[in-house]
Symmetry: C3
């Protein structure tokens, strides 16, 4: 069973998508199995991370922007804007697909884990995530 989840973004950073994924798992009726997410983009990625502290999410974003700066003279691929090539690099360093086991009809996330779409572009986007449940 494959479903599509859309995430609307209007800036860089972590966008929590735990709720729609949790809902899909609940309505699937699967009690034990595997949930696999796949993001159909090359400038956004998936992350299972700390779901509680806003400061942790902010620090993560600041750190990644320092590691992969918008430094036009470093890149030859710049036709789509100064945040485009850094977005491809960030996407390559993080995950395009993620698996989470399903236990007792629920996602087997740890206490502090949430599921995030990590947007690496600054402008408005609708990101498509495919969710495979089995």
């Amino acid at each position: 069973m494959i479903e599509e989840v859309l995430v609307h973004t209007n800036n860089q950073g972590l966008h929590d998508m735990t709720k729609p994924i949790t809902d899909l798992v609940a309505s699937s009726g699967i009690s034990e199995g595997l949930c696999t997410l796949f993001v159909q983009h090359t400038s956004a990625s998936l992350l299972v991370q700390e779901n509680y502290e806003v400061s942790a999410k902010r620090d993560l974003e600041v750190w990644l922007n320092r590691l992969v700066p918008e430094n036009p003279e470093q890149y030859s691929h710049s036709s789509e804007g100064p945040d485009d090539m850094p977005a491809h690099i960030k996407s390559a360093l993080t995950a395009t697909s993620v698996n989470i086991p399903i236990l007792d009809g629920k996602l087997g996330l740890g206490t502090w884990q949430g599921i995030f779409l990590w947007e690496h572009r600054r402008s408005v986007h609708t990101r498509k995530v495919l969710v495979h449940l089995a």
Copy 2:
């Protein structure tokens, strides 16, 4: 079929967990399939890497600690200690889930590949890894 594997850590670095995973696959009776690992933490990750040379594992740890230093003035999220925010960042740069095909009843690892729990905190922890076999 989902099993739980516990890994006890008392410092940063790679903890070999190839043996318990290999054992689970052997006892599952699956001859062809897929083994999926998921770590239920946001400050530890999973790695399939060089299983032989101790120097390679040490170099990897040294390099990652240089990339993500314990530099308190860089982080606003510091209430859980100086190694906490770097651990979240390292976790985001590495894998939370990993898949390994099962062939002829065994994990399809390459000659030099082992499976590791990568601990990013310095203190004592018990890390939980879910193993989905299908």
Copy 3:
């Protein structure tokens, strides 16, 4: 169903393997499912990335080589050449396994996504990728 795909490399960089994977999916007859790739090496990885602009692929390679330089004095593991330890590090930062859902008998890749074997060594290699289809 598990198949093996070989990728012949003779330098660092992204080697497009979208076509052989697409062909395997087509010949499998699976209309809805999941395709999982696993690379059996610790100095090469898998990447789903921009399939169109050559400049983006080149920038990605240049950036990663700058992040993980061949700097012999940094590494104690150097017996297999100056590009060996950097290759293990690059492999640890990128993906060893990747999942792509199958929809309507085809890989559910986004418009600009291709599948690449990312070679991190400079010399000639034959890389083995296991492809699990279910």
